[in-house]
Symmetry: C2
Subunit: 284 residues, 2 copies
């Protein structure tokens, strides 16, 4: 397991973490460069605001590695009638990701279709969408990073609720391990899973761990979505999970993704980044 | 699959569903008898209030079947130092359950220990506690019903977060299928699981489905704990899950357990029970 205490060369900051303080990509890039942070994970909003070409130049000019692009997928959100349009939008997302040099697009499966209770059909839509995108992703040189979200989001965000399910999809769509599809492991979403060690190892055997996201699970939690904690402040044994992904062969960045309406989004952005660095070196 | 539309002979009401309206066991028993509901699932509070002996007589006098007793377990809540006391308390819980004629005690594994991030150790405590209780439960004639709770409660309530995990525990502690231990399937807690069909079938093969709990998953959800929905008002395909448990051999009650601070706890209790009956006959 890597010693992270000496520096923060493998730290990446997801745009969402300071999106209220640094909504524009340039603001974030400048702040990260100032703090000697090497990794960034932008969302589509700030990239589309200035265009992917300009965003790519900005990111390169600040010496940043793009550890992921958030976010694609959402295949089932508009039901079967909207699936084609969602897939087409994902192609644009992959184009943008290629332009900014992202290692992967973070793929969130999608919600139940409007008015539907059929999670199995929503899952089928996500699988169809991913299957259709895979050749395009390979051509673009950007991997599809399936991120299972916490089961509490199964209805309204993401029907892929466990790493086992994400691994199943990868193995079904890429049975020979040609690549272009993998998983994103976010401690917030998977820490509760009694099979997490086996599933991380399984993802590693397929060389499919594309990103590792960190934050913490607060108790009590004041909001289903916007009350994620800073690493160290919650219930998750982050070093244990990092040990598992590294034992499975992952040697990339640790990306901080915190949605925190009442706490971290209210502090100065530079202070948040400084705290991320400190926690990365001590409790990750 | 059974036709539930003709009557409500397999409907059970968990005390929590109308606990604000009918906190005393007698109030609930009378209301259920009035509505011709045949099943009840009390919590310990109202039973201990009058004593298990009187509670048992009250329940029998109203012709009610006790579909479960809530709740035992919570092994890890006080850490290793408190495990013995928790186990001892569970013995008393089993005594009470026997006295009132409960088919099973609903076992909730427990939270992380105070100040701990070690979910694996908390899980180990739950398994140790269940192992120690199993002979006592068999002697008492009351089964241990392991209820996996939704993963959103992994830190503060229940480290057993999936039916697969509950099945693993049952098979480890009762490898020869002698009984006395099984699972409680609550749609709210397990509906998101992509392996739910396989795990329900697996529990059925071991004749281990001890209870089936129903309510619904609301979107949006206003509270992590106290905003459960009435059947039909949310995202869960309840008939699909009922079909799975019945195909797995379950032919017992459907028990309504709804915590709803802002909606159902605010309506008259008889109206809530009437709504449970109507929904049971139409959307369950």
């Amino acid at each position: 397991m890597r010693d992270l205490s000496k520096d923060h060369r493998f730290l990446s900051i997801n745009w969402a973490t300071t999106r209220e303080q640094f909504p524009r990509l340039e603001q974030l890039a400048v702040a990260l460069a100032r703090a000697d942070v090497r990794g960034i994970s932008p969302w589509r909003e700030p990239v589309q605001e200035i265009g992917a070409k300009a965003a790519g130049k900005l990111i390169r000019d600040h010496g940043l590695t793009v550890t992921g692009y958030c976010r694609g997928g959402l295949f089932s959100n508009q039901g079967r009638a909207g699936l084609k349009a969602q897939i087409e939008d994902n192609r644009r997302c992959l184009d943008e990701a290629a332009e900014i040099g992202a290692a992967c697009v973070v793929m969130v499966a999608g919600s139940l279709a409007p008015g539907s209770k059929d999670i199995r059909d929503a899952r089928a839509m996500a699988r169809e969408g991913l299957a259709e995108l895979l050749p395009y992703a390979r051509q673009a040189g950007v991997a599809l990073g399936i991120e299972p979200l916490h089961p509490k989001y199964a209805a309204d965000r993401c029907t892929c609720t466990s790493l086992g399910e994400a691994n199943d999809i990868c193995e079904a769509l890429d049975p020979r391990g040609q690549g272009g599809i993998g998983v994103v492991v976010d401690v917030y979403h998977v820490w509760w899973d009694h099979r997490i060690a086996e599933e991380i190892a399984r993802a590693g055997r397929g060389r499919r761990i594309l990103a590792f996201h960190i934050c913490d699970w607060l108790v009590p939690m004041r909001d289903m979505l916007l009350d994620r904690g800073m690493m160290g402040d919650g219930a998750i044994d982050i070093p244990h999970l990092r040990g598992l992904v590294e034992a499975a062969g992952y040697d990339g960045f640790c990306e901080v993704e915190i949605f925190s309406a009442d706490t971290w989004w209210k502090k100065p952005g530079d202070e948040v980044i400084k705290t991320c660095i400190e926690r990365y070196r001590t409790v990750v």
